[in-house]
Structures are given as C-alpha cells and as structure tokens.
C-alpha cells in the first residue's frame, strides 16, 4: 500500500490539510465530532481497496481557524463544496461521520452531481423534541469519551497528545474542534436538513452504532424516508456514536461493500 500523503489547500485564506492513501476507486471521508487529530485504523482499512482522500473541515484538526469566518450555514456548505473540489473529490464516492456526515449529505443534496454514492454514519442535523440528541457541548469533561465511543478508551487514545506535540497548542486544537462543531450545530444540532434530504439522489448507506448515545437511532428512519436515492440502513453492533472509531474493520467493510 502507498504511504500516507499530506498536502495543503487554501480555503478562505486558511491552510487546510488533505490526507491521501491507498489505491483503487476514490473515496472521500469527512470526519465526525472531534475531527481527526491523527490517522486512524478505519482509514487504514479503507485504504486497502480505495484511494482514500480525507480533507479536514474548517476549525477541525488540520483545518486551522477556518471556522471563524463561516457565519451562516450556507458559508459552511460552500466551504465544504470547495474543499471537496480542491481535494479532487468532485463526483466521487463520499462517506462521512457525525458532523461530517451531515455536511456530506448537504453537499449531496445541493449539488447532486458532486457525489456518486454516499455513506452516512449517524449524521447530525435533525432534532426531535420528543427524542432529542444528547447535548455534546454540555458535558462534564470525563463524560465525553463514553458519549462518543462505546469504548471510551478509543476516544481517549484518539485525543491523547503524541510525544513531541506542542503541549499548549494540542489541547487548544481539540477544543477548537468542538467549537467548530458548535459553530455549525449550536444549540440543538438542528440545521433543518430535513427539508433538503429529498434532494439527495445518490444511493445512500446509513450506518448507526448500536450504542449511539448522541444521535437517536430513530433519526436513521427519517433520513431513510426523506432521501430520494435508494437507502440501506445497517446497525453497527457494539459501536457508539463514532462507529468508525469503535469498529473500524466492520464499518470500513460495510462502506466498501456498499460502494462496490
């Protein structure tokens, strides 16, 4: 397999990281809550059979402070569209998780030709007052790992500061990721994406962690009903909200099988 390549694009004046690894058909991935402070096993799995391209989102690790100039939802959607284009993902298969899944779905709705097939892992964007998502920004610090992953140690390992990292900037970057998510989804997580789902024509795989403690599983049904393209819903056993962290091989397998 090829080595991990890192390149940088400019988005609204902010340097934005693009990771690329593997060979085969191109597959983009937009990360979930917390972003990608480091490469992860799930991407390694995908790279076995795909050319995986992973752009950072503004404000998330690798995305500098790009979120600070995005005030409205349209600003975000245009930025994501531009990032996907610059990353060479126009018209490719696209997967996303959590906050990234919501943005992937938006792009597929607004610019149907820009996404071939779509895989969404527990996307943000909906709010049902009778069955609300958990508020990820009103949590005691020690509660977050168990909220994001079925196995909290996996989240902790993802966020742990590597040797040699800047001990002041590293924690600030992790807070920034939470801030960037808040900038899009505060306070309820509700972007009214429901109104746009009917515009999604791409065949869509919906994945939901069996133990997702953030996004109610009932939301999968709303996505499945509203999306115009054909949808398939799978529950990932033993996984939490960020199913790709808890069960990298299983989630990667579901996605590549769907895309084949």
């Amino acid at each position: 397999m090829s080595e991990l390549e890192t390149s940088t694009i400019d988005v609204n004046g902010f340097p934005t990281r693009i990771w690329r690894k593997g060979s085969g058909p191109t597959l983009g991935f937009l990360a979930g809550f917390g972003g990608l402070p480091r490469w992860m096993p799930f991407l390694e799995e995908l790279a076995k059979t795909r050319t995986v391209i992973v752009p950072s989102l503004p404000g998330f690790p690798g995305g500098d402070r790009g979120h600070t100039v995005l005030d409205q939802h349209l600003d975000w959607l245009l930025a994501v569209r531009e990032i996907l284009d610059q990353a060479g993902l126009a018209g490719a298969d696209l997967a996303g998780s959590s906050v990234g899944a919501s943005l992937a779905a938006e792009v597929a709705a607004l610019w149907p030709a820009s996404v071939h097939r779509l895989a969404l892992i527990a996307p943000f964007g909906l709010f049902d007052a009778n069955n609300p998502p958990t508020d990820p920004w009103a949590q005691r610090g020690d509660a977050v790992p168990g909220l994001m992953c079925a196995d909290p140690e996996i989240w902790k390992a993802m966020k742990a500061m590597p040797d040699g990292a800047n001990s002041i900037e590293w924690p600030i970057e992790q807070v920034r990721a939470n801030e960037a998510a808040a900038r899009i989804f505060w306070p309820l997580g509700n972007t009214r994406i429901e109104k746009r789902l009917r515009l999604i024509k791409a065949p869509t795989l919906l994945l939901w962690g069996e133990h997702d403690r953030v996004m109610p599983r009932a939301y999968a049904e709303v996505f499945a009903e509203r999306i115009a393209g054909q949808t398939t819903t799978k529950i990932v056993e033993g996984a939490g909200h960020l199913a790709e962290l808890d069960k990298p091989a299983e989630v990667a397998h579901e996605i590549t099988a769907f895309m084949d």
Partner: protein, 427 residues
C-alpha cells in the same frame, strides 16, 4: 474613591440540602424551588435595600443581569434600574450590565439605557458584559463560537446609535438594520460612561485600555484572588502607555462589618455560607462551552497552570470552573479573602489596602449576600456608610474620575413627589 452598593438579588430560600439534592443553581435549577409569592417579598426587600443604600450616601447602586439563576433574580436589570431612577435623586445608577450579544436587535440596549439615562437625569453607568457561559450560551442559546464577535459588533452598533445624529444603515456581519435612529437619546454626551466587567482575558484588558473604558473585575473570590487579574490589567495599561488612573478600574468585594471581628464572623457566617455553599453550586457541565474562552485566554490559562502562577485558579478558567473549587465554610471564606469582615476600623484598613494594591478607584461592595435578612443588610449598610466610608474618602483623591456619570444640574431636574397616590386622587 467611589463606594458603590451592589445587589445580586439572590433567591433567599434555597433549601438547606440544595447542594446535595440539586445539580445546579444555574441553567436547569428546578422551577419547584421558586415561589413567586415569596419572590414578591424578596424583590421588594431588595429594592428597598438599594434605595436605602442610596439614601445613606453610597455613590452608586448597582444591578446586573443573569438568566435561569437562583442567586441572580434580574434577567432584566433595566426594570430595576428604571424604578431606582424614580426613587433616588443623586446616586449614580450602575447597570452592570446588559449582555450585548443577547439582544436582537442590539439597539434595544441603546434604547433602554437611553431611557434610564433620561428618567434619571443622566445618572446611568452603562455596563457591557459579555455574560457568563450559563447566561449566554446555555440559558439564551447563543452560539459560543460567535458570542464575542457578536458582542463587539453589538457594541459598535450601540455606540453609533447613541452618537450619530442622523438615521443610518448598519451593515454588520450579524446585524443588519436599514434605519437606525433611536428615540430617546441619552442625556450624557457623547454617551453614558461605559464599564466592562471582564474575567481576566488579555483581549479585554487591551480593549478597555484602547477604548478608554473602565475595566471591572467582578469576582466572588475577593482581593487575594483578584490581585493577579488587576495586575494584569495595569501591566497591559503600562505597556500601552496609558495612565494608571485608578478610576479606570472597578472591583467587587463582599464585606461584613460589625462592632468587632468576632461579632462580624458570627453575624455574617450564615449568609456567606449560604452564598458560597448553595448559590455557587453550578454543574460543571455548564462550565466550558467551546469557543467561549478565546484561544488567547486558553493559552494564558494553560501557561499559567504550567508555571503554577498565583492566578492559575482563575486565568483561562470559566465562571463554572471557578465555582467548582470554591471554599464553602466561613473560616476559609474569610481566610481566602472572599469576604472582608471586622470592625469599621479593620474593614476600612483592609479596603484601603485593596483599593491601593489593586489600584482600584471604584469599589463595588456586596453588603447583602446569600440569605442575609433585610435587617442585617441595613445594619451592614448603615455601619459601613457611617463608619467605614468616611475613612476611605481620601483614597485616590489626587486622581480625577473621568468615568463617572455627568447628570443634569440638580436645579433643572424633575421634582419627584413623595409617593402619595391617595392624596393625589383626592385632589
């Protein structure tokens, strides 16, 4: 120096087991704990106390804004201030203040403050806090990532609304108004003095210095913890080549005065322990909405903790985080300097030291706190006015306070009749 009387308006009947039985005094405090009929009495007592403080000679009476808060019953301090404007004559009215980003459009603040300034004959101090995370991000749902940008934009809009003579269009990032033209306009020109309560971020120090605003540190933790923050402000002022005029600073301090230190300890323990024990009980989950603290403040906080600096307990910490580590028994409350207690001489001596060491010309005094009764509040207030205040008048006497309200001349102001509606009706 100026001695100002501050009321938080705490709900005074939180149950004894409040801390154990409830997750938080703020945001999701349960409605069953609030009895509106008791609150009727509390509000009227509190307003009596503020009026009393004005009558015994305090330079200002101060109110502030909180939301969904068991120790701050003023979602709208402007309502209280407007009543105080009618029931007092010469005392400055300090609204500390209106959280600018919460008002849509923010010209509402320009209008209401202009109303208070007109009603009071030009006695308003206009406080512009960002607001705590609990008030702004959680109770009011403001996006923490946009809060400060919105605050600054709202500030610019309010100041323009006060000062521009002609109707103008405001083309902001978050606010667009085609026709800005507030009526009424403030009496004080170009506008009422602007004071900014801050939590110790470098950005706020710099902004106050550059804008020539009063920087206030409204901490519940007294002068010992506040020292580093005020030093930080003055260091920034020095760096920018500004005067060390103590009147460009304000500081909040709890006080309990009595005949002796022991008597003060005995008299004020219950109220202080009620405040620090029950009122400052906030669920840490409300502590840190991401983006609320600027990255500069986060950096300073982390660096300060690495160095174990004296201010590591406050720098880069949110209000909620500070609450978590608070002392709650009277011995520690006094020892840490949260509440200054003693005889009039002892209190005066300590406050002189606070005002001098922190270089603060505006001391905002909390003489009512927690469940302190109206009688004890009056006692504390009266003793302070009669026996402490005179001993502090000479402090900072060589400086001029450029940030104090400039009311209309007394002879030109409305005569407010004693309240006698039955007499008036019989005429």
């Amino acid at each position: 120096m100026k001695l100002m009387w501050f009321h938080l308006m705490p709900y005074t009947e939180l149950p004894e087991d409040f801390r154990d039985a409830n997750p938080s005094v703020w945001v999701d405090i349960h409605s069953s704990l609030f009895d509106p009929r008791r609150a009727h009495l509390m509000y009227n007592d509190f307003m009596d106390e503020l009026e009393y403080a004005a009558a015994v000679g305090f330079d200002a009476i101060c109110v502030n804004e909180h939301h969904s808060n068991g120790y701050g019953l003023m979602p709208s301090p402007n309502l209280i201030a407007s009543s105080l404007a009618r029931r007092t004559t010469d005392t400055a009215i300090c609204v500390m203040g209106n959280s600018l980003a919460l008002y849509n459009p923010p010209t509402r603040v320009a209008e209401e403050f202009a109303m208070i300034d007109c009603i009071s004959g030009g006695r308003l101090i206009a406080g512009f806090p960002v607001g705590t995370p609990m008030d702004t991000c959680y109770a009011y749902g403001t996006n923490p990532s946009q809060l400060r940008q919105r605050y600054h934009e709202a500030h610019d809009l309010v100041v323009r609304a006060w000062t521009e003579r002609d109707t103008f269009a405001f083309n902001g990032r978050f606010n667009q108004q085609r026709y800005v033209n507030i009526w009424p306009r403030p009496i004080q020109q170009p506008h009422p003095p602007i004071w900014v309560p801050g939590g110790g971020s470098v950005e706020t120090w710099r902004w106050c210095a550059e804008m020539n605003y009063v920087y206030c540190y409204l901490s519940y933790y007294g002068y010992k913890a506040g020292r580093a923050t005020m030093d930080g402000f003055w260091t920034e002022m020095d760096r920018l080549g500004k005067d060390r005029n103590p009147y460009q600073a304000g500081f909040l301090q709890f006080v309990g005065v009595a005949e002796s230190r022991q008597q003060a300890f005995d008299l004020y323990s219950e109220a202080a322990e009620y405040f620090y024990g029950r009122c400052l009980h906030v669920d840490p989950k409300w502590a840190t909405p991401p983006g609320y603290s600027s990255e500069g403040s986060q950096r300073a906080g982390i660096e300060s903790q690495v160095k174990q600096a004296a201010d590591s307990g406050v720098r880069g910490k949110s209000t909620g985080e500070r609450f978590a580590s608070v002392a709650r028994d009277m011995d520690a409350i006094v020892e840490k300097g949260y509440v200054i207690i003693g005889s009039p001489d002892e209190v005066a001596e300590q406050l002189r030291e606070v005002a001098t060491q922190l270089n603060v010309g505006h001391l905002m005094l909390l003489l009512q706190y927690g469940n302190m009764s109206k009688d004890l509040t009056r006692y504390n207030t009266k003793l302070f006015a009669e026996q402490v205040m005179p001993k502090l008048r000479d402090v900072h006497a060589s400086w001029t306070d450029h940030w104090w309200p400039q009311p209309m001349e007394a002879a030109q102001r409305a005569v407010i009749p004693a309240y006698a509606p039955k007499l008036a009706a019989a005429e």
